[in-house]
């Protein structure tokens, strides 16, 4: 009897083991990880901006599908590609260090590549997080941008006659392990000539300090934009002084304001940082030279404690011969013939001054965030400010920061 019972117990146990085994076996899936050998790191921005208005409704919308190493059929229509970046929309004013738009976005439209695309991204390279850069094959690659209708249908499912409008079809040379940003640009505002600019970035090779914030400037406007008639430009008050363009050669002056909560352009500034000469920027859409980085100390203010600071920078762009002290315009003047434009970089880039000033708005170059027992702690970043026609864009690259202390 006892033996019998033991036998019963055993059988139950065997059943359980068998069931477990089945569960385990069915849970095993062989995962094929995609891998790119010898990758280069690429980030793509579409700088052809547009606005949907009654007057411009018949214009072609610069909304693209990007292909790397496409396969085209006899009629020149792409049928597949090694890498596809679909729904490439005009770029956002702010390109954050992480593809953080994934978390909040409900639309397929991608403000940059890789952006929302679920692809292999770059590693942390010399302390720089490259998760906004996609891995792409190195060597000579063919790159193509095709116009596509602004809807949610993936490119290859579109009707055939919609797939043949190619804007750019070119070959670029990428070196393995190098970091590139590519810009789709309108190079001439009058003739509407477009092109690409491939810039090989060097920030990860520079000996940069942890206590300085770095920024470099580019003017990638179309030739003839600032001279063009106002009626041809986008009328958007949020762009403030930038909307009518700036001249081809400009000096940049830096002012560091003490407090992000004082929304006044006459608010207190850090001593020594009120209209300080900072950099020069010239119109360039032809050569992919990296402009030098300028820097300011993040602990410039006396009120900072080495952990956190509330300062924010303002950049004034003046034509050579003019500066903050000799500025002939009144502070709120937005239409200055391209001689003076300015941008405030504070908070999340959505906050305007309450005083009458003429600045466009972008997020702060300094990252203030909760870190361990410090809330907030301030971290330095490496930035790029790009002016394209009437718009100004900020790209922030985040560095590997010290781990939080609890």
């Amino acid at each position: 009897m006892k033996k019998n019972r033991l036998f019963q117990m055993n059988t139950t146990f065997v059943w359980l083991v068998a069931c477990n085994f089945l569960l385990l076996a069915s849970g095993c899936v062989k995962v094929e990880y995609s891998k790119i050998k010898e990758p280069a790191y690429l980030r793509v921005f579409n700088n052809l901006n547009y606005v949907q208005t009654l007057g411009s409704k018949d214009n072609k919308v610069p909304f693209f599908c990007m292909f790397i190493n496409p396969v085209v059929d006899a009629s020149g229509m792409p049928v597949s590609a090694e890498i596809v970046g679909d729904f490439l929309d005009q770029r956002d004013a702010y390109a954050p260090p992480y593809p953080s738009h994934i978390g909040t976005s409900t639309s397929v439209n991608n403000p940059e590549y890789p952006g929302k695309e679920n692809v292999l991204v770059g590693p942390i390279l010399n302390g720089f997080d490259l998760s906004s850069w996609a891995q792409v094959p190195s060597g000579k690659v063919r790159i193509m941008f095709a116009y596509r209708p602004k809807n949610t249908v993936p490119f290859f499912q579109l009707e055939n006659h919609l797939k043949k409008d190619i804007l750019i079809d070119t070959t670029i040379n990428l070196t393995a392990q190098e970091v590139y940003t590519m810009h789709l640009l309108q190079k001439d505002f009058v003739t509407k000539r477009t092109g690409v600019l491939l810039r090989q970035e060097i920030f990860h090779k520079l000996p940069l300090s942890d206590s300085l914030a770095y920024v470099n400037f580019y003017n990638m406007s179309g030739k003839g934009y600032w001279e063009a008639d106002k009626s041809l430009k986008e009328d958007n008050f949020l762009l403030a002084s930038f909307q009518w363009g700036m001249k081809d050669d400009m000096n940049v002056y830096l002012s560091l304001y003490e407090d992000q909560n004082i929304l006044n352009h006459k608010g207190p500034t850090v001593p020594g940082y009120k209209g300080k000469y900072f950099a020069n920027v010239k119109l360039n859409t032809e050569t992919a030279v990296v402009n030098p980085y300028s820097s300011f100390p993040i602990w410039a203010s006396k009120s900072s404690n080495g952990i956190t600071t509330n300062i924010w920078p303002r950049f004034d762009f003046f034509v050579p011969g003019m500066d903050v002290a000799s500025n002939p315009f009144f502070s709120g003047s937005t239409d200055n013939g391209g001689n003076w434009v300015s941008v405030n970089c504070l908070q999340n880039g959505k906050i305007r001054m309450q005083s009458n000033d003429n600045a466009a708005i972008l997020p702060n170059l300094l990252v203030n965030i909760h870190s361990g027992k410090n809330n907030p702690a301030t971290f330095a970043t490496v930035n790029t400010i790009e002016v394209v026609n009437g718009k100004v864009y900020l790209t922030t690259i985040q560095r590997k920061y010290a781990p939080p202390i609890y």
Partner: protein, 349 residues
């Protein structure tokens, strides 16, 4: 052992659904032509479908999208009885009715958000222009849909072989006809046509350049002091033709009246301002639903320039829906109820 077997039994028993009932599918959904036939708001549309011989095709497999104008829409065009269709050219009628029928199932959600002038093939040889206002970037959802300038008053009526949208207006496609040919074929606008000819503005209307023409009929021009007789006596060299008649031409634009309404929804700005060609006068076009009729209409306001001290010379609102949105191969013609510029205002100085 017993436990294990019991478990198995329980598992098996849990899969048994003897009394599972599925709602019987509705077998009363009608195919397209029968649906239209049985709808008393669309009697005239059905009569037209029947007359041009689309009934069998529309009761077939499909899928179809029917853009069905109501009887009221036909009435506005002067069609009150099915027999009125007999007075029309059968071939032209077939093409116009075919323009209201799409060989696909097009639900509102298939149309891109805020898509403007999205084109879809029809059973005729021209494409229909579809504009959908769905979101306002400043916040808020919109839900307006227009086909070639006609408002959809009821969206997404499900048919057995497709879908149906009720149109507030009959669409007016003219296929290969240019705006010039359209104007030449309408004697109502004969003075306008002679004026365009007299001031060398006529020939361009037959080219492939796009135009939006605000066409004043003879009565409207008479209000503005121009008749056939007075036009004959005019010395063309003494007047600014680009103002006197050029004021009615909008170059390089393709505006349905509904476009103003759509952009007022999605961009909070339904107007477009422009300088007249070869002239310093400044015009503002604005389209939208007019108060108190809530029907689509448009307004034109003419200014001497675009400076802050330039006060309007003349403002006209034109809201005869049935006469607007004549879609031609190189643009659109809208009816204008009043003249904008008198000959005295256009004398060369």
């Amino acid at each position: 052992m017993i436990l294990a077997i019991g478990m198995q039994l329980l598992l098996l028993a849990s899969c048994k659904h003897d009394d599972l009932t599925i709602a019987a599918p509705n077998e009363n959904i009608r195919p397209a032509a029968d649906f239209v036939k049985n709808n008393y708001e669309m009697r005239l549309f059905y009569a037209a479908i029947k007359k041009v011989g689309y009934v069998d095709e529309l009761n077939g497999a499909g899928p179809f999208t029917i853009l069905a104008p109501t009887d009221a829409a036909f009435n506005r065009m002067g069609i009150y009885n099915p027999t009125d269709f007999d007075k029309l050219n059968a071939d032209s009628l077939k093409k116009v009715i075919g323009y209201h029928l799409l060989p696909r199932k097009l639900s509102v959600t298939d149309i891109p958000n805020n898509g403007i002038d999205v084109r879809y093939a029809t059973l005729s040889d021209a494409e229909v222009y579809t504009s959908r206002a769905s979101t306002n970037p400043n916040g808020g959802a919109e839900n307006e849909l227009y086909f070639s300038g006609s408002e959809v008053t009821r969206q997404d009526v499900i048919l057995a072989n497709g879908t149906l949208h009720v149109l507030d207006n009959v669409m007016k496609p003219n296929f290969n006809k240019t705006v010039q040919a359209w104007l030449a074929g309408h004697p109502d606008y004969s003075v306008f046509v002679s004026g365009l000819k007299k001031f060398n503005l006529w020939d361009q209307l037959a080219t492939t350049q796009q135009f939006t023409v605000f066409a004043p009929n003879n009565e409207a021009l008479k209000n503005g002091g121009i008749t056939a007789a007075s036009l004959n006596e005019m010395d063309a060299s003494k007047y600014l033709g680009d103002l006197l008649f050029g004021v009615y031409l909008l170059y390089d634009r393709h505006f349905f009246v509904s476009d103003g309404q759509v952009f007022s929804r999605i961009n909070s700005n339904g107007s477009f301002s422009y300088f007249l060609k070869n002239n310093s006068h400044y015009m503002t076009f604005g389209g939208g639903k007019q108060y108190p009729s809530f029907k689509l209409g448009y307004g034109l306001v003419l200014y001497p320039g675009n400076g802050p001290s330039d006060s309007p010379i003349k403002a006209v609102t034109s809201e005869i829906v049935a006469k607007n949105d004549n879609l031609c191969s190189n643009g659109l013609v809208h009816h204008l109820v009043d003249g904008l510029v008198t000959p005295e205002q256009a004398i060369k100085k």
